[in-house]
């Protein structure tokens, strides 16, 4: 009963701060991405042309996706949103490596990432439109709608975190249950499905962050996805 996805898994204490397993995993993911970037684009980069081409392919894909929503602003936000996507991709896919658990299957990591997205959206909204311009958005079309705007702002950030956590955690649970009732080969197709879910959730988290950002800086492309998440 107490082994659920909602209870943190404390590994050790760093002074008064408890360090959970997910935190260590996210350090590992960060180090892995740093190493990947250094190997592909650092001074030794010329020695790994295939790795560099693969990473470039990935970054070009991200840039194309961002450009479809943000248009000419895409390159400015590519470092943050692209890293977010790569981080989520690695984190979500950790579940298929034996002995590791995706850090996004606990509520803390998605909550932290959603908070980062929330801060980014508002800081950029304030920077691009100015304080008045940014606040005016919340009084449109009428001042009576201000509470609804505030609620929608908070709930969509909450939903961003809960969506990621729920999808990854529920799939971990499903695989756990399958393992306990049917032994060897039955969970394999579900592990394959978990790769798909990890990919799609990383993509959705990033593209939703992009859409929120585009709405905040006033560059929502026409016919784009709804900006108000619930």
């Amino acid at each position: 009963m107490n082994e659920g996805p909602l209870s943190p898994d404390i590994l050790f204490h760093l002074g008064p701060v408890p360090i959970a397993r997910q935190v260590v995993t996210t350090w590992g993911v960060g180090l892995f991405l740093l190493l990947l970037g250094m190997l592909a684009f650092g001074p030794a980069g010329a020695r790994y042309p295939r790795l560099r081409a693969a990473v470039e392919l990935l970054v070009e894909f991200e840039r194309a996706q961002l450009r479809a929503v943000l248009q000419e602003d895409a390159d400015r936000y590519l470092p943050f949103l692209g890293s977010l996507f790569l981080f989520l991709l690695c984190s979500n896919l950790l579940g298929i490596i034996p002995g590791l658990a995706p850090p996004t299957a606990h509520p803390e990591t998605p909550a932290a990432l959603a908070l980062l997205v929330f801060l980014l959206v508002h800081i950029e909204g304030l920077r691009v439109r100015g304080i008045l311009g940014h606040l005016q958005e919340y009084l449109r079309p009428n001042i009576l709608l201000l509470p609804i705007h505030i609620v929608s702002e908070l709930s969509r950030t909450f939903a961003l975190a809960v969506r990621l956590f729920g999808n990854i955690a529920s799939h971990e649970l499903v695989i756990g249950v399958l393992l306990s009732i049917a032994g060897l080969l039955v969970p394999v197709p579900f592990l394959l499905l978990s790769i798909l879910i990890g990919l799609v959730q990383a993509y959705i988290f990033t593209i939703l962050a992009t859409v929120f950002l585009a709405a905040a800086i006033g560059r929502a492309a026409e016919g784009e996805a709804p900006e108000e998440g619930t």
Binding site: M1, V162, R163, G166, S170, L208, A225, P226
Partner: protein
Amino acid sequence: MNLEIVSVFGAAFAVGLGSIGPALGEGRALAAAMDAIARQPEAAGTLTRTLFVGLAMIETMAIYCLVIALLLLYANPYVG
């Protein structure tokens, strides 16, 4: 019936009933997207991106139910 059994029933009903609506909604959205892609295959890229974002929005409802169920099972504030 004590509180723990009620919580288990609550969790089961939350997931079971809560996934009906999103399932119907996602089915409709997917059918509409298929229809649109069949009529206009060149717009498949935009449609797919919008579809994924829309499906994520619909799916959030089911995920809320799941979170309620998880809370009831693992972090129930009323069971000691």
